[in-house]
Point group: C2
Chain length 253, copies 2
DNA sequence: TCTGGCGTTGGGTAATACCGAATGATTAAT
DNA sequence: ATTAATCATTCGGTATTACCCAACGCCAGA
């Protein structure tokens, strides 16, 4: 997990513990110790430390992640200019389309959901704000990567690869680069069930004043409602327009 | 800052660094080192580690908190049963009142905003989800504390005190306990500009099946609109009803 | 070219993260 | 009531490392 050589090594095990809490769902000390392969006492050391720092909480059934992470997360988000500006626009996009509208960015080679707004008809969906997914499996991620240099993309692919999530995932480098070209031509990206079966998304990139891509907005919904015409005409127009509004507002903020 | 004796001491300095990033707004290595009183090299060690772990990002102007915190925060929130159930109810409360509606809980002696929904007329407000504030300065915090044992409250006050935020803050133990009694009688708590001048809030506690208090819902708005009648009749009723709906839904989930 | 401020690197050492083993605490089973 | 089993917790030794100092390299601006 934390195989890389970290300068402060204990931080690696500490976040192995945090990840274990996340993955195991209300685990006990012993559970965690076994999961990450350390003695109980070590896990205990880290868990008490995390608890003292308000980063974990010992509940009746086991440990859970502390609300202090919410504070840091909220702060991280609130301090991104693009988030402040984009939030109302994304919200409106959700209202207008009735589907889920999202704001996302790329960080450390992963696509991060910064904000999600739920439209009237939106189906339940597995994403939540803060969630991180492989870039190549989302319309947002592809919209962003398409506007980065080839070296930039290669570095990410080199580190994370192109893992297959389901049968529609693009796992071939060349196919991906061809898709990027189409995305640049059309000005928007799509995801046709490439991460979640039956879900289709449309995304448009957001640029800063130097034409560097900052983030992306997207709309996602079930294939039953996201028929071809809507996916290729109405929604791209709306999503691109939303991205444009965000860009303009960014310039004057 | 991290004066307590931690089992994993380096975690203390690590989160001193994280807090420094938060407080200083895009600081450099040197800024951070000075702020927390360690050599540059130490700050650098922690910052590179944080960056390797995706917990911090080196931007053009300096460091900022990484989006991985968003992931943990989102996860912490999504895994609280009360949050899932309460979200739609709080959203509706915001729509109906036109003001800000909030969901909050107490953790480690601080009030945590879990969710905030913005009504039509809502003014800009300094809170954001994940934010933590002294319990005694919010209606939500008081609604929760009023239904805890005296020892529980004493422990919190002993650790955090009753810091004065503005001229309306309750800083006297006895005054606070008297207010708690009133809160228990009426079934709701108020905040009359005790944290932010000119802001008034109404909050109601949410109980679990054992009548232990879990969280609280609140509505907050500018004093100009939150006149006495609304503050003491209409809103308490709405907030209490919302809390009740959440309680019922919690039982069957 | 020089100077000042920055981030970065490397290595020594005092401090500690990690571990094994023993001890409590709790619950279930006999 | 007694035992057994499983959990969290405590404690102290030691190999490891977090921390620091000092030196270096880099870039602007003078």
């Amino acid at each position: 997990m934390s195989s890389e050589e970290l300068r402060v090594k204990s931080a690696g095990t500490m976040f192995d513990v945090v990840d274990a809490i996340k993955e195991l769902d209300e685990p006990t000390v012993t559970n965690i110790a076994e999961h990450i392969g350390v003695p109980k006492s070590t896990a205990h050391d880290h868990l008490t430390t995390l608890t003292d720092l308000d980063l974990a909480v010992a509940d009746a059934d086991g440990y859970r992640i502390g609300a202090r992470f919410l504070e840091y997360g909220g702060y991280a988000r609130e301090n991104m200019p693009v988030f402040r500006v984009a939030r109302p626009v994304v919200k409106r996009l959700a209202t207008e389309t009735g589907e889920h509208a999202n704001l996302g960015m790329e960080e450390h080679g992963l696509a991060v959901f910064l904000y999600k707004s739920k439209g009237e008809d939106a189906v339940t969906i597995d994403t939540h704000s803060g969630m991180r997914v492989p870039v190549h499996t989302t319309a947002m991620g592809k919209a962003i990567l398409a506007h980065h240099s080839r070296e930039y993309v290669e570095a990410i692919v080199g580190e994370h690869g192109l893992p297959r999530i389901n049968e529609n995932t693009i796992t071939d480098r060349e196919t991906l680069y061809e898709e990027f070209e189409r995305i640049r031509e059309r000005g928007y990206a799509t995801d046709d069930g490439e991460r979640v079966d039956g879900m289709r998304c449309v995304a448009a990139p957001i640029f800063d004043e130097n034409d560097d891509v900052l983030a992306a907005v997207s709309v996602s919904g079930p294939a039953s409602r996201m028929h071809d015409d809507r996916l290729k005409n109405d929604l791209p127009q709306r999503v691109k327009s939303a991205a444009n509004v965000i860009e303009v507002n960014l310039k004057y903020s």
